[in-house]
Symmetry: C2
Subunit: 350 residues, 2 copies
DNA sequence: AGTTTTCATGTAAACGCTTACAAAGACAGA
DNA sequence: TCTGTCTTTGTAAGCGTTTACATGAAAACT
């Protein structure tokens, strides 16, 4: 364990060189004689020297940390992404500074301002609320950052996301092919690009299969579990209620399952339920939830790699990567009851 | 959004004072005339000034950040704790620097060394692996830290945990009162204090109810889901297999449930399953898992508060807080089959 | 051998702030 | 009005680094 306060000056004294040389060793400067380097390294070892991060970054170097801004920590969703980020960062010996905005847009801009002001070398923004407020400044100042899971509505900027539209399309199509015609949809927070895309994917699937879109079957939620519960209740109350409910994320799907059960209906026999995300719980819930898998951990990894690239070559071309989603079929959906022929037909028509 | 680089000198110029006065305003020094303070505040506002953290801490102040060391991010377990920590920290406008040791003891000591070397003002250590390596140094240097969920086997140090012994005792007793006599137990990583305590609680309950302890009913796991699976399989294979399985945490309990189902047995009718932690999934799994609730989020909060106290009054008395666990009865346990009378008797005998 | 080039090393200034100390006002008591 | 005290403000040094520049020694030329 390191001693109270060992500075490069101490190391320099011990190694019999000037502190400048020590600094060069730390920074892997080529202009150090191998023998000298060795001597310095030994001194550092013996003294248990650890370079002071604050001083390094103040003096113009890098901070060795990247900032991560997330809306909250409530669901497994963010956790998965963080795992991916953490895995990549650990490889690079970079620190992770975590900020939770608690879904407050104003805090978001605030944090970004603070962080970009020297706390970190780069920024990872998960599910940003209103990135428009700061991406401009960030880009202009050439500060490296990557958006995760956000469809930039405006400017081009580095981002990684999933094929939300396609995923929702696949999900809805799966239900359609199972013979469902009345498919309830519970949206996410509609100010988020991903939520919009999922709704669009759902609508597109209906259109493709010539099933009319009705607003009464769409309930606007906010990605939280209670919305799934109340949403499902509302959907079950419409005249000619849906035979399937597609929720924009897994936790809302689970909320919906609770509501359906509370009404005394069976899943999937009476109502099919389909989610989005494939969080760990999706597999454990009973019946196991059929859902659209988002490669969350991978999104975290890829975003981090992009950021690291940006850190090395700040001028490299901005890009937006969309990772493919995947339909995971489990036990929460089955063909529409008493209409297997229908389902079969639907699956192979247009 | 803040401009490129605004320093206290800029603010001072704008406000017509010296930079020293600006610094005083930042640090809420009493020796500033109200009018002057106001002027400085305005200048700061107009310039969008944000004090540079690195510089502040370098110059002797606090870093305004606390470090959090966790073993991993895999299970919801840590996530819950982090939520509590984050909630408290946000209130204090402190930053969170997150480190993942990936369950490597050596990394742990390493990180602690680095962090204590000026990166952060205090340290929160979740499920520390071998704290003995560094608590000595930390204490000696009077560096504020709090251990979360670790039974300090050795020295006294600030820590918060749960009543693991009592929790396991309650759990085992619950099963005993339901009439179970052959109760399988799957341990956690036995190098962790909490795992030891849980085993001890289980044994104590057996003893209290005059049920013999047999080693063949104890399977040593490591807190990961696969251990639950293989553990349950092993336990079902012993002659006169258990009628109930108590796993040292929920994810292992879920692994056990999978194994039991795979054997074609019903839960809870054929085998009762009981977990520990009450992670969010416990409620969602079917049958819903009866478990011992650990107040994880609260543990995070309490630990953070302790750390904040320590930060303010470094000399305050060390303390170890144990938060009570609670038996949460759900659907994964029922009286031992065909022996309700037994169960009833057991419940009210010594 | 003398001169230039190269490379390793030392030195000083700067990064943006805190803080002890000095200086200058303000104000009271005599 | 003068002295002493208290309060506000300015100033300089220093926190532990990096980095541009200067220096000196060794190596490579002629």
């Amino acid at each position: 364990m390191t001693n109270q306060k060992t500075t490069i000056v101490d190391v320099a004294a011990k190694a019999g060189v000037s502190f400048g040389t020590v600094s060069r060793v730390i920074n892997n400067d080529v202009h150090v004689r191998p023998a000298t380097r060795e001597r310095v390294l030994q001194a550092m070892e013996q003294l248990g020297f650890v370079a002071n991060r604050q001083a390094r970054s103040l003096a113009g170097g890098k901070t060795g940390a990247i900032g991560l801004l997330v809306p909250d920590l409530g669901t497994g969703y963010i956790g998965e992404i963080i795992r991916g980020i953490d895995a990549e960062l650990t490889l690079q010996e970079l620190d992770l500074i975590l900020y939770t905005t608690h879904r407050t847009a104003s805090k978001e801009a605030n944090y970004v301002a603070n962080l970009a002001q020297g706390m970190v070398d780069g920024l990872l923004l998960v599910l940003p609320r209103n990135p428009a407020d700061y991406v401009g400044t960030l880009t202009q100042r050439n500060f490296p950052f990557v958006l995760i899971d956000h469809q930039g509505t405006g400017k081009e900027c580095p981002a990684v996301g999933a094929t939300n539209w396609q995923g929702a399309f696949d999900a809805a199509e799966h239900l359609l092919k199972l013979g469902h015609r009345r498919i309830g949809f519970i949206t996410g927070s509609m100010d988020l690009g991903c939520a919009q895309d999922r709704l669009a994917g759902y609508r597109a699937a209906l259109r493709t299969h010539h099933v009319p879109y009705t607003e009464e079957l769409v309930y606007e939620g906010t990605f939280f579990q209670p919305d799934g519960f109340t949403g499902a209740l509302a959907l079950l109350d419409v005249p000619d209620p849906p035979t399937a409910i597609f929720a924009s994320n897994d936790v809302m799907a689970m909320g919906a399952m609770d509501a359906i059960r509370q009404r005394g209906l069976r899943i999937p026999d009476d109502i099919a339920v389909l989610g989005f995300d494939d969080i760990p719980q999706a597999e454990m819930v009973r019946p196991a939830l059929t859902t659209i898998q988002q490669p969350l951990e991978k999104m975290g990894r890829v975003a981090t790699q992009m950021l690291l690239d940006l850190l090395e070559a700040p001028e490299s071309k901005i890009q937006r990567i969309e990772l493919p989603t995947k339909l995971i079929i489990r036990d929460s959906c089955c063909p529409r009851q008493g209409s297997y022929a229908d389902a079969h037909n639907a699956a192979y028509s247009a």
